[in-house]
């Protein structure tokens, strides 16, 4: 790390001017790699917070009639747990890894809009902190992660918690849309010569698809939450049936976003798996176009299945039949991917590294979650199972067994590129097996208690319903699961210090990010590469097996260590990278402060002083945003590629 930093200072005008205060190079950074790491680290912290919330709930449910938590606290915990895991953990973790890896994979020096990228990370953090602030200011949100109306109206949810939820997720939502626009333009417009669309790594493909899903799915959620905010703050009654509003409208607006959201959570991870499996099977991915286009297909179909979350509402047989059929259809492209992954490993030269184990774990757990999903897509079955622990089992098999196991695969795979050191494989494998086993101990019994009728979102239950033993087992499983996460943390911390030093290409991989030093310098590529196939690095290393449709490498990996020579890094002086800037951070700070003010603009808490303070916050926010915009324009002039040509 130190060496790379050294080089970085000697070549990058941005860092050179930064003085001796190292925080500045992070807080004012516009480097996609640093921003990616900030995303990853903060998502991981939120993962721990969400995990603590889960453990508290599991302690409460471990025994019947337990009084460890009150009903009210329990409601806050399940709302915050899901909100955290979905919006503050899996989404930003995907974005973080994507931020780091996508520009490297397509041969770019940075994202298309580096300052917008910085804006996204700080808006995401602002939103996350705002959500968590609610714990200290009178109660966290408590209406569930899908915030069903009319439970979320002020009279049923009188604390400011739901307002924090609306505005906190509003900020992370802007961050997501800005990030998605950035990914779309980066992938479409920043590819190196020869990196045609049909040569892009599948991880890049899935990020592109997900970015389109984000920009089309988020607006309805934004509109719904704006309307909810008007209900709560100004008595608008959009979703209050007692005053002529419509509670089911909220469900449509939410799930039109909510179902595509689950693909936002899973598709990037499927992309990671599609990179990892071929490398450790030493074979190209089986059916590249099928994997790519089934992702596109899932993206489209994901927009016409939302009402399978609403069978319980009673939409009538026609609507039920349509949404059931559409949901079953979406299982087809999902199944296509699974068969492609299995076929990739088939007859391959499989190396069971930790990353590979996690990838295989992903496939097997995701199959279970997919099957329970198909059962739920059938209205008669769903009417039995909806709002029971069976649904909880389903969503954890796809989200934990799917997304999170896949993210661990990605973590073990790209950690050496990001840090220059390998994670310890032995500890990793122990952790993998502990996690797999405890995951199943925790979540498999939920299928059983669910079919036995245990409702979800209850804070306690009577003894003797037949659920006691399973619940206790689940709680024990949770503690084992938490222990496996602790092992991972230990692995990261100890490997950062004295892990094996990573070569540029420790896995003998095929894509461009492995052609450069680990970690890469701020400008990434000394020279923008020219790409001739889907597996540029394999082709270079194994010329006899080169070509798009040929078999991959079969000889043993050659662990070459490339370093940029002094001469080369001397040449890198001419590479102009965008300058450090605080404007994005001030901008998002301003929006966060203004949002905080907005929460209290119409609340009768301390009377006038509260409103005055709220107004003050909004004004401060506006001033901060204005300052940031001015700084932003000046910065963009400084770095404008139009202008630098004329120097």
């Amino acid at each position: 790390m130190a060496i790379a930093e050294q080089k970085l200072t000697s070549v990058s005008p941005a860092t050179a001017s930064s003085g001796s205060f190292p925080w500045r190079t992070w807080l004012a950074t516009v480097d996609h790699k640093k921003i990616g790491i900030i995303y990853i680290v903060s998502a991981f912290v939120f993962f721990l917070l969400g995990g603590i919330e889960a453990m508290l709930m599991r302690v409460q449910l471990g025994t019947p009639n337990n009084t460890f938590l009150s009903a009210d606290v329990y409601n806050q915990l399940f709302t915050m747990h899901a909100t955290t895991m979905i919006f503050l953990m899996v989404m930003p973790m995907n974005v973080g890894i994507g931020n780091y890896v996508v520009p490297l994979m397509i041969g770019a020096r940075d994202m298309a809009f580096p300052r917008l990228n910085a804006l996204s990370i700080w808006l995401f953090l602002g939103g996350g902190l705002l959500l968590y602030l609610s714990f200290l200011t009178g109660g966290a949100p408590n209406g569930g992660w899908f915030a069903y109306a009319p439970l979320t109206q002020v009279q049923y949810s009188p604390t400011a918690g739901m307002d924090y939820w609306i505005l906190g997720l509003g900020l992370t939502g802007i961050a997501s849309i800005a990030g998605a626009l950035n990914f779309i333009v980066t992938v479409l417009n920043m590819r190196a010569p020869g990196m045609s669309i049909n040569r892009m790594p599948l991880f890049v493909w899935m990020n592109l698809v997900v970015s389109f899903i984000i920009i089309f799915a988020f607006p309805t959620f934004t509109v719904g939450s704006i309307q909810l905010l008007f209900d709560r703050q100004f008595g608008a009654a959009f979703f209050n049936p007692a005053q002529g509003g419509d509670a089911v409208l909220w469900q449509h607006l939410f799930w039109f976003f909510g179902h595509p959201e689950v693909y936002i959570l899973i598709l990037p991870v499927m992309g990671m798996i599609s990179e990892i499996l071929p490398v450790f099977s030493r074979k190209p991915i089986f059916g590249y176009s099928f994997v790519a286009f089934s992702g596109v297909g899932i993206g489209f179909l994901g927009f016409i299945v939302w009402a399978h979350h609403m069978f319980g509402v009673g939409m009538g047989p026609m609507a039920n039949a349509f949404f059931a059929a559409a949901s079953m259809v979406i299982a087809i492209p999902t199944g296509v991917k699974i068969f492609n992954w299995i076929a990739t490993m088939w007859a391959g030269d499989v190396r069971l590294t930790t990353a590979m184990l996690y990838a295989i774990g992903f496939i097997s757990m995701f199959i279970i979650g997919g099957i329970s999903g198909i059962t739920l897509a059938s209205p008669p079955i769903d009417l039995q199972q909806t709002d029971t622990y069976y649904v909880v089992a389903h969503l954890h098999y796809v989200l934990f067994g799917g997304s999170i196991l896949g993210l661990f695969a990605g973590a073990f795979y790209w950690f050496p590129k990001m840090t220059g050191r390998l994670l310890n494989e032995r500890i990793g494998k122990i952790q993998f097996w502990l996690m797999m086993i405890s995951f199943n101990i925790t979540f498999f019994p939920m299928h059983i208690v669910g079919t036995e009728g245990m409702p979800r979102r209850i804070y306690t239950y009577e003894a003797g319903m037949g659920w006691d033993m399973w619940n206790l087992i689940e709680t024990i499983g949770t503690f084992l699961l938490a222990f496996s996460v602790l092992i991972f943390i230990y692995n990261v911390l100890s490997s950062l210090r004295n892990g094996e030093v990573a070569s540029n290409d420790p896995w003998d991989a095929a894509t461009l990010e492995w052609t450069m030093p680990s970690p890469p310098p701020s400008y990434n590529f000394l020279h923008i590469p020219v790409v001739n196939s889907r597996r540029p690095l394999w082709d270079a290393k194994y010329p006899h097996a080169a070509g798009d449709d040929h078999h991959g490498p079969s000889s043993a990996p050659s662990q070459v260590r490339y370093e940029y020579t002094d001469e080369e890094t001397e040449g890198a002086k001419d590479i102009h990278m965008p300058s450090l800037t605080f404007s994005p951070m001030i901008f998002s700070g301003g929006l966060t402060v203004a949002s905080l003010g907005f929460i209290y603009i119409n609340k009768d808490i301390l009377g006038l002083p509260t409103r005055v303070a709220a107004l003050g916050f909004i004004l401060i926010g506006i001033v901060m945003v204005s300052i940031a915009i001015r700084g932003w324009i000046l910065d963009s002039r400084k770095d404008s590629p139009y202008l630098s040509q004329h120097h």
Partner: protein, 220 residues
């Protein structure tokens, strides 16, 4: 770097024009406009759904003739507003044409005209809102028409929808002003045409949304 042959960096390529052959900022703005389309679709749909319900309620009571909330919406004022906004799209086009031919005084004139027309629209909308408020249409789930109270979300959906459109116009005006000053200060800057083109794209979009609202909400 064995895997990669040396291609020379961006040199010679038009700035910001990437592998897709378009300017990055323009591509991003187009994608953003796609996203915004869904935003307004959701707002307008909500309005239409609730308006249909109000109409059905009123019709069932035989009150539709004289209690239709649409009677609030004076078509005269909004027609003028629509004309103003459409005219501002025209001046925007002229401003862009002037940047392309580097006629800066002309450009400043047309951009100022756009700013003035945009501001006039916003002011007109503020006037319309206060007027409606006094007439009894408020941000509340009922309205009072000629002394009679009707339970309806018309006011709520109407103000939120048109209010968010107005907010977009306002932000557009701020953006226009920023471009105006930037171009005035750095007149010879080669990036000016693209700056103007981008704000123009956004401006036309906001204009189109108004055409949709005007047709679906005021006319039909």
């Amino acid at each position: 770097m064995s895997a990669t042959s040396h291609a020379h960096d961006e040199a010679g390529q038009a700035p910001l024009v990437g592998s897709l052959g378009v300017d990055s900022r323009k591509l991003g703005l187009w994608a953003f406009i796609g996203s915004e389309t869904l935003f307004f679709t959701a707002l307008i749909t909500t309005h239409l759904i609730f308006y249909a319900r109000t109409k059905a309620d009123l019709a069932a009571k035989g009150m539709l003739e004289h209690m239709d909330p649409k009677l609030y919406l004076g078509i005269d004022l909004t027609t003028i507003l629509a004309a103003i906004l459409l005219a501002s799209s025209l001046t925007m086009v002229l401003a862009l044409a002037a940047t392309k031919s580097k006629e800066w005084p002309k450009f400043r004139f047309w951009l100022l005209a756009t700013i003035v027309l945009g501001s006039a629209f916003v002011l007109g909308q503020v006037y319309e809102f206060t007027h409606l408020y006094h007439e009894g249409l408020k941000l509340a789930p009922q309205y009072v028409y000629e002394g009679e109270t009707v339970k309806s979300l018309f006011g709520v959906t109407f103000f939120v929808m048109t209010g968010f459109h107005g907010l977009h116009v306002t932000l557009g005006v701020v953006w226009l002003i920023a471009v105006y000053f930037k171009v005035r200060r750095f007149a010879a800057s080669p990036e000016n045409p693209m700056d103007v083109e981008l704000v123009g794209l956004y401006w036309h979009f906001v204009d189109l949304v108004w055409v949709a609202i005007f047709t679906l909400v005021y006319l039909i």
